[in-house]
């Protein structure tokens, strides 16, 4: 039985992931009344599975260390992850963002910089002193995709990459829950502010879910800028930002 699971590892991983995503979206609907996005719940369940895998086997690859579930190492590995992320660029186009003008561009750049700098300050305050770890955690403060992509590119430890994912997930949840609450205060009731909001927050799932809970008509505007955020973060964090951090830390 286990041999069969190992032999068809990738397919088994797809089956299990499908079940996890289904249950997570049900949980998001029924238990959390959509205040926590299904994607955030699913990622949390993934992290819990990784914790269980690590506890059961004592290994460092989460659920993939359990023999029958080794296919997760392929499905969740850097190749499929980066491939899927690149495909999301189909939903965005340069002229669309140009329409939002200066504010959209500025919010994108500022959103990445502010999240990175404040994330880096948190990392340093909490006692991290090496440039790779600081940059990876700061990347996680951008989004749960920028963190692991940065960490993977720089060769950060799995623990630090996990922290960066967890930070991004916290951000996604906070954006989803917080957006309807602060929408009126920050003037989030028009397409232009929605674009600025998407650029500042960046976390695509949080932005889409947060806007859906506030005003569904604003979702595409926020998503347009948010889809560029991940690309910009993946471009800047392991390159220029890492270089700047490495000037101050080893």
């Amino acid at each position: 039985m286990v041999d069969l699971l190992i032999k068809n590892g990738l397919i088994v991983a797809l089956l299990v992931t499908g079940a996890v995503v289904y249950l997570s979206y049900r949980l998001s609907d029924k238990l959390f009344l959509r205040r926590v996005p299904g994607s955030a719940v699913a990622i949390f369940v993934g992290l819990v599975m990784a914790y269980a895998g690590g506890s059961l086997t004592g290994g460092s690859h989460g659920i993939a260390d359990i023999a029958g579930l080794s296919g997760f190492a392929v499905l969740g590995g850097s190749m499929f992850r980066d491939f899927a992320i690149v495909s999301t660029a189909m939903g965005a186009s340069f002229p669309e963002v140009r329409k939002s003008g200066l504010a959209g561009m500025l919010s994108l750049l500022l959103g990445v910089v502010v999240a990175f700098v404040s994330g880096a300050i948190v990392a340093v305050t909490m006692g991290y002193t090496d440039a790779k770890s600081i940059t990876t955690i700061a990347g996680g403060a951008c989004s749960f995709i920028v963190g692991p992509v940065t960490g993977g590119a720089l060769g950060a430890t799995s623990e630090v990459i996990t922290i960066s994912i967890a930070a991004g997930v916290f951000k996604s949840i906070l954006v989803t829950i917080g957006t309807p609450l602060v929408a009126r205060t920050i003037g989030l009731d028009n397409p232009q502010t929605a674009m600025v909001y998407g650029g500042m927050m960046g976390t695509t799932s949080g932005v889409a879910a947060g806007l859906a809970a506030t005003d569904p008509r604003l979702v595409p505007y926020g998503a347009i800028t948010a889809t560029f955020y991940t690309g910009l973060g993946c471009l800047l964090c392991p390159s220029i930002f890492y270089f700047l951090v490495s000037l101050f830390f080893e």
């Binding site: 991983a13 690590g54 495909s87 502010v114 948190v122 996990t162 994912i165 690309g231 392991p238």
Partner: protein, 120 residues
């Protein structure tokens, strides 16, 4: 053909990774520099160009969109293979690194939206 769309995505992916590797060598950083970001830019440009030339068919688009929709499940699988057990002790870092930037960014939105409006 659906596979043409997937192949375009794969081509952008490989080209982006290659640019990232070369840039890493040039900058003397032992890392792939923005390979994913370059691949995304390539895909946006090629997608627009192919639409203009009327070469992009809905079927080819669905080849790319399949992977677009697979991205949350792939991220879930990625979370499931991380070393969570080891990171648990420093969980407070993750909470702070998630909350602090989010609050600061929320506060800055009205300011930047105002800049945009005066220009528009």
């Amino acid at each position: 053909m659906l596979v043409y769309g997937v192949a375009i995505l794969a081509g952008c992916f490989v080209a982006g990774q290659l640019i990232g590797e070369v840039l890493g060598r040039i900058l003397h950083i032992d890392a792939n520099v923005g390979g994913v970001g370059f691949a995304m830019m390539l895909l946006i440009i090629i997608n627009q160009w192919m639409h203009r030339m009327k070469w992009m068919t809905p079927e080819m688009e669905s080849g790319v969109n399949f992977w677009n929709k697979m991205y949350i499940p792939v991220i879930v699988a990625m979370s499931a293979i991380q070393n969570v057990k080891a990171a648990f002790s420093s969980g407070f870092v993750a909470i702070l690194a998630g909350i602090v930037p989010t609050v600061i960014c929320f506060l800055m939105i009205p300011m930047i939206a105002r800049i945009g409006k005066t220009k528009a």
